[in-house]
């Protein structure tokens, strides 16, 4: 693929992405518009002046279409509004403060899942129908069928016991701040995806192991380690990269159970809190932001895939 083709492809995907984000914003707007009740008539006493100001800002006394246009206009300008329940806090501030936490946790989890999945999957394929295969596949089945909140709770319990055993805090049980805080939550978060990637890697690796070019390499006398690294791993890894985009999506939005259990101040926890308090602007802003982030990540993975595998034909 030539360089200009690549740029056209990236541009095309970006335009598609913008339309997708618009769709997400629209769906969010109408879903929230359907929520019964008046957002300005909650338990907190709002003065007439505040109500009038908010009504003017969001056009709440005007028809839905006008409100929608105002909403889109604000969105384009990057104005996600002010929180309804936290005084003097813009949604942008909330995202800026708490998204990095979720992102770091998510990135660690994705790295953990991808590295683990590739490694374990390759191992099971090489040791097919021998004990490492059985042991790993048993763990994979556990990882797929045990819900993440149970894994989170059990790992927290284990941490408590380990800390008790050594008499000091080996790894913190909850909270956020240092690298040590991140390790266990990231592992728990990435576990399900790792199990899934392991299965994928195993079947893709099994296909490669019995392919012609591997047999040729063996016949030529290429050392096994080199066959493994150069021929098998590189080819088998491709399907894993394709599902990495959706996996990132699953991990970042799936983060809020782990954030709740481990008391991590991430955006997911804020979203759940905002839903409980019916904080309209925070709910809408967070959803659109997450959606845009996921769309962007999928585009990045697609482009990466184009670089790695020149065979991929792009529309």
């Amino acid at each position: 693929m030539t360089r200009s083709n690549m740029w056209i492809f990236i541009l095309k995907r970006l335009v598609q992405g913008i339309f997708t984000v618009w769709f997400i914003a629209t769906a969010t707007f109408f879903a929230m518009h359907n929520v019964p009740g008046d957002p300005l008539l909650n338990d907190r006493a709002t003065t007439e002046a505040i109500r009038a100001n908010l009504q003017a800002k969001y056009g709440l006394d005007k028809p839905v279409t006008t409100q929608y246009v105002i909403y889109l206009g604000n969105l384009v300008r990057g104005d996600l509004g002010i929180s309804f329940t936290q005084e003097n806090r813009e949604v942008n501030d909330i995202i800026r403060d708490h998204f990095p936490v979720s992102a770091i946790l998510g990135i660690l989890a994705v790295i953990f899942a991808a590295a683990g999945g590739v490694l374990w999957g390759a191992l099971t394929a090489i040791y097919r129908n021998r004990w490492p295969d059985y042991v790993i596949m048993f763990l994979v089945i556990l990882g797929i069928s045990v819900p993440s909140f149970v894994v989170a709770a059990i790992s927290q319990l284990l941490l408590v016991n380990v800390n008790d055993l050594f008499g000091t805090t080996v790894l913190p049980v909850a909270g956020w701040g240092t690298v040590l805080h991140m390790l266990v939550p990231a592992m728990v978060l990435g576990l399900g995806t790792m199990a899934y990637l392991t299965r994928l890697m195993r079947s893709s690796m099994l296909e490669i192991v019995s392919s012609d070019f591997v047999r040729t390499a063996k016949a030529k006398g290429v050392p096994p380690a080199r066959i493994f690294a150069k021929h098998q791993l590189r080819n088998a890894i491709l399907p894993v990269i394709t599902v990495l985009g959706p996996s990132i999506a699953a991990i970042t939005t799936g983060g809020f159970v782990v954030e709740l259990v481990f008391a991590i101040p991430g955006l997911g926890r804020y979203f759940v809190q905002a839903v409980q308090q019916l904080d309209y602007t925070v709910i809408m802003g967070t959803t659109v932001f997450y959606g845009a982030f996921l769309v962007f990540m999928v585009i990045v993975v697609d482009v990466l895939y184009g670089f790695i595998d020149p065979r991929v034909r792009m529309e």
């Binding site: 879903a31 359907n34 929520v35 069928s145 819900p147 149970v150 079947s203 809020f256 979203f271 769309v295």
Partner: protein, 454 residues
């Protein structure tokens, strides 16, 4: 290879049948069933699924305990715990005269769920005592437990505890108080095994015995039996698991059926019509895929206006259908596009088959295998979604039980009564596992092209 002999090469008589099918012909589904039967894992999973369905549908007829019924005498009972109660006389105030002292902190009489009576020796110079109760030993960090009583009078040397006693081992701690009411260091602790007792009036009241039953003080009666134990409100866990299975499996199986149905409909139209319509329809499906799934599940829930105390089963079903159909539609569209180009479709067309016949007779039956596999794999993810949302309190709301909300309740008492978490979590895991393995088996059996290399 069969052995050939000269007898196999005889010239034919005229009119004799030359070709013949020597084995009975097998339909697609018979063939698939035969292949599924030899797959042990898939077969075991199939039995598990059938067992789960029986548990859900027929269970409540066999085990007729009301899942909302509270048994406050047996709160958070682990399964298999002993459930006898001794009949005792009605409660009478404790007469403390004539007690002998000089042995430190001691239990007077038999400690029962009716009352635990304690006596101790006053420490000279102390300003009184405070009494704590704990269900754990004190340990080095000196967690005394909940304070039960405080006496700013050193002459009070007896205490009767009657607050919410269970048949457990309690640790009572007696801490002397200093002149300003501060806790002194020289505490005393005593371990008390409390026995469960009940009075005749109480037992009749709760329907444990008939009024006419001839029981005396000192007899033993049986309390209600809870094979899986009870939860934190004393509700029977087995009955709740069955009721929860109805909710979890209703969402877990209902939603996949509905969205697969819609996906087949949508995808086959897109695939069959093709062209512009196909492009627009598939672009819309791409949009829906891009919606952040769990966030929108929650968004739909509040969009429906589910207030506190409402179960929210139906909105969850709708939200799952709305968000999960695109994958199926894409799959079915691909299948239809493939089948449309096959030789037998052209042949059928040439023989004059109408479009309706083509779709109903050839296209849909040929996608059915793939669709069945999709449903089987969609069920675990729907069950997970329900459990996940209920766990964070955004799904099925109490008092409606579901496996997810039961796990949510159980996780709070994970340390003391782990069975309340273990059972619902186990049911989720087994169900998800069974459907996953069954899906693997079905995929291998139904579709040779999709067969993985196991």
């Amino acid at each position: 290879m069969t052995d050939l002999s000269l007898a196999d090469f005889q010239p034919l008589e005229p009119g004799q049948e030359i070709h013949g099918i020597s084995r009975p012909s097998q339909s697609y589904w018979q063939d698939a069933w035969a292949r599924l039967k030899v797959n042990k894992r898939a077969l075991v999973s199939l039995y598990l699924v059938i067992g789960l369905l029986l548990f859900t549908i027929a269970g409540p007829w066999v085990w007729t305990v009301d899942p909302a019924q509270q048994d406050l005498d047996q709160v958070s009972r682990p399964p298999g715990a002993d459930r006898n109660a001794l009949i005792v006389a009605d409660y009478a105030p404790w007469q403390t005269e004539g007690l002998s002292f000089g042995e430190g902190l001691k239990v007077v009489g038999d400690p029962t769920t009716q009352a635990v009576k304690l006596k101790w020796d006053a420490i000279p110079g102390a300003n009184g005592h405070r009494i704590y109760r704990n269900i754990f030993p004190i340990g080095p960090e000196r967690s005394y437990g909940i304070p039960r009583a405080e006496f700013f009078d050193n002459r009070v040397v007896t205490f009767e505890d009657r607050l919410d006693l269970k048949a457990l081992t309690y640790y009572y701690v007696l801490v002397p108080l200093g002149p300003r009411g501060e806790l002194l260091d020289n505490y005393e602790v005593i371990e008390v095994d409390v026995h469960r007792v009940t009075t005749i009036v109480e037992a009749v009241d709760r329907g444990l015995i008939e009024e006419s039953a001839n029981l005396q003080i000192g007899d033993e009666i049986n309390l209600d039996w809870h094979p899986f134990g009870t939860d934190y409100l004393g509700r029977d866990l087995l009955a709740r698991l069955m009721a929860g299975a109805r909710v979890s499996l209703f969402i877990g199986i209902g939603a996949p059926f509905l969205f697969v149905l819609f996906g087949v409909f949508y995808g086959s139209i897109a695939g069959f019509v093709g062209g512009r319509v196909d492009q627009v329809m598939m672009r819309f499906a791409d949009f829906v895929v891009a919606l952040p799934f769990l966030l929108f599940m929650i968004l739909f829930k509040i969009s429906f206006g589910i207030g506190p105390g409402e179960s929210g089963v139906f909105p969850m079903l709708v939200a799952l259908v709305v968000l999960m159909w695109p994958a199926t539609s894409r799959l079915v569209r691909g299948q239809i596009l493939q089948i449309r180009e096959q030789g037998y479709i052209h042949a059928s067309q040439l023989l004059g088959a109408p479009t309706r016949y083509l779709i109903l007779r050839h296209m849909i039956p040929n996608t059915l295998g793939v669709v069945l596999v999709t449903i089987t794999f969609a069920i675990p993810s729907a069950i997970f979604t329900e459990a996940f949302l209920s766990f964070i309190g955004m799904g099925v709301a109490p008092p409606t039980p579901s496996w997810g909300s039961m796990s949510n309740e159980g996780i709070k008492t994970m340390l003391t009564t782990p069975h309340e978490l273990i059972f619902p979590a186990l049911f989720i895991s087994i169900t998800v596992l069974a459907f996953n393995l069954l899906g693997d088996g079905l995929r291998d059996a139904l579709d040779a092209r999709m067969r993985n290399q196991e």
